[in-house]
Amino acid sequence: MKANTHIWTGVVEGLHLVPRSFLPMRTMDNLSFVKGQGIAGDRYSSGEGFYSDRPEEGRQVTLFEVETLEALWRDHGVRLMPEDHRRNITTRGVPLNHLVGRRFSVGDVVLEGTRLSTPCRHIEQITGKEIFTLLLNRSGLHARIIEPGEAFTGDPIRPV
């Protein structure tokens, strides 16, 4: 029996990609997840990401909680939009910090959390907002692709 199977259910709030480092991310209706590679068209599947010179299998997909964006506004008056956090999936209702080493589905796609994301200073350069410190310990999740496929905005996210 899987103890955590039905504890939570979340939803895809937004899907984002960008072809090269530093450029503004674009919100998409759907993303294509390629096993062993990453997200079709995203900078980390093509080797064009800021950290692509340090390849990491567990960085195929990145996720970020919309609740953190809401907290930045509520607690610090910082307005950060889903395109600004530079992760691929904006989630709602998903405890990302609990999912290192766990598998979860995003629509038909299955991902496995590999490590917590850490903030990096270049998000401040890009957004022009002082958010580095505010994002410590809530900067999202890195994941790798277990089951490839397409995911759409509004798809459910569940533990598997």
């Binding site: 090269r20 530093f22 450029l23 010179d53 850490t118 022009g128």
Partner: protein, 312 residues
């Protein structure tokens, strides 16, 4: 050499002669993806094919999402960057920094009074559309040798001419900068961009303006260390000058020394490097005091003296 993934990749999409020996370069993403936003008065570093890195003001409307325009005047007796830039043709790919702004518009100005000397007009070209949209009160004094030498003067004609005064030295109409400063209102802000002698004159005559005086010098517009210092690399013997305004990691990279780095914010400690002498200014957020006695994080830290010896 900077890696392309650590810089913006731009391509020269169009060229336009905007005055004799002065050319406007329209730079875009190779696939015309939107570019990172900028604010009026911002500049970018361009990495030229020779390895030179030069700063150029962005002179298009910041509302343009997909392009940066820089205007370059050939300087026969300069450091070579402008002539190299003018030799580049359409389709040339260039690496660039993110836009930075060390010459922003003041938010609380009663009136924005701008003084441009020659090619120093360029940052004001990005400010004018912003000021117009905000219905702000502004006036531009464009100083040049002759009317045809005003860079992109044709564009100025399209804006409200009562807001632009041309001062053409060939016609004997030089700007009296001290008199202009003396006539400023108590809430007016003065912005000056031009040759060094113009900047010096503005600083001397404008001491009473305090925070209401803004100057932009050519080529010295980066942020970082407050004073220059030197890095000495103990293993290679290499000496690397860190300019005022430059970060330690940037200086190392510019000299071809690759130091692993990740967060570039003083948290991950990936760039932690042993130092052997000198006094670092530690700005990381995590290193223990014991570690700080032996290590420095080049991504955020500086040097409180003239030299820092690294174990590299």
């Amino acid at each position: 050499m900077a890696k392309s993934i650590h810089r913006l990749s731009l391509v020269i999409a169009a060229l336009q002669e905007v005055a004799p020996g002065v050319r406007a370069f329209t730079l875009t993403d190779p696939e015309d993806w939107p570019l990172p936003p900028f604010t009026a008065g911002a500049h970018i570093d361009l990495h030229l094919p020779s390895g030179r890195i030069r700063q150029f003001s962005l002179c298009n409307d910041p509302a343009d999402g997909n392009r940066y325009v820089v205007t370059v005047q050939g300087e026969a007796h300069g450091r070579g960057g402008s002539l190299e830039m003018l030799a580049l043709g359409p389709g040339t790919e260039l690496l660039a920094s993110l836009p930075r702004n060390t010459f922003p518009l003041a938010e609380d100005a009663g009136r924005h009074v701008m003084v441009a000397g020659g090619i120093g007009l360029t940052p004001f070209l990005s400010m004018i559309p912003v000021l117009e949209r905000a219905s702000a009160d502004w006036h531009l004094h464009a100083c040049a040798r002759a009317a045809e030498a005003v860079p992109d003067g044709g564009r100025l004609v399209q804006v409200a001419t009562e807001r632009v005064t041309q001062h053409l030295s060939d016609s004997g109409s030089r700007l009296d900068l001290p008199a202009l400063i003396a006539g400023l209102g108590p809430h007016d802000h003065l912005y000056v961009c031009g040759p060094e002698r113009m900047i010096v004159q503005a600083l001397e005559a404008g001491t009473g303006l305090g925070e209401r005086l803004h100057v932009e010098r050519f080529g010295t517009t980066v942020t970082g260390a407050t004073a220059a210092y030197e890095l000495e690399l103990a293993r290679s013997g290499q000496r690397i000058a860190v300019a005022a305004g430059q970060g330690m990691l940037d200086a190392l990279r510019a000299a071809g020394v690759e130091v692993p780095s990740s967060c570039e914010g003083g948290v991950c400690l990936e760039c932690k490097t042993r130092y052997l002498s000198g006094t670092p200014l530690h700005r990381d957020l995590l290193m223990s005091e014991i570690d700080r006695q032996s290590y420095v994080t080049p991504c955020v830290s500086g040097c409180s003296g003239g030299r820092l010896m690294l174990d590299l």
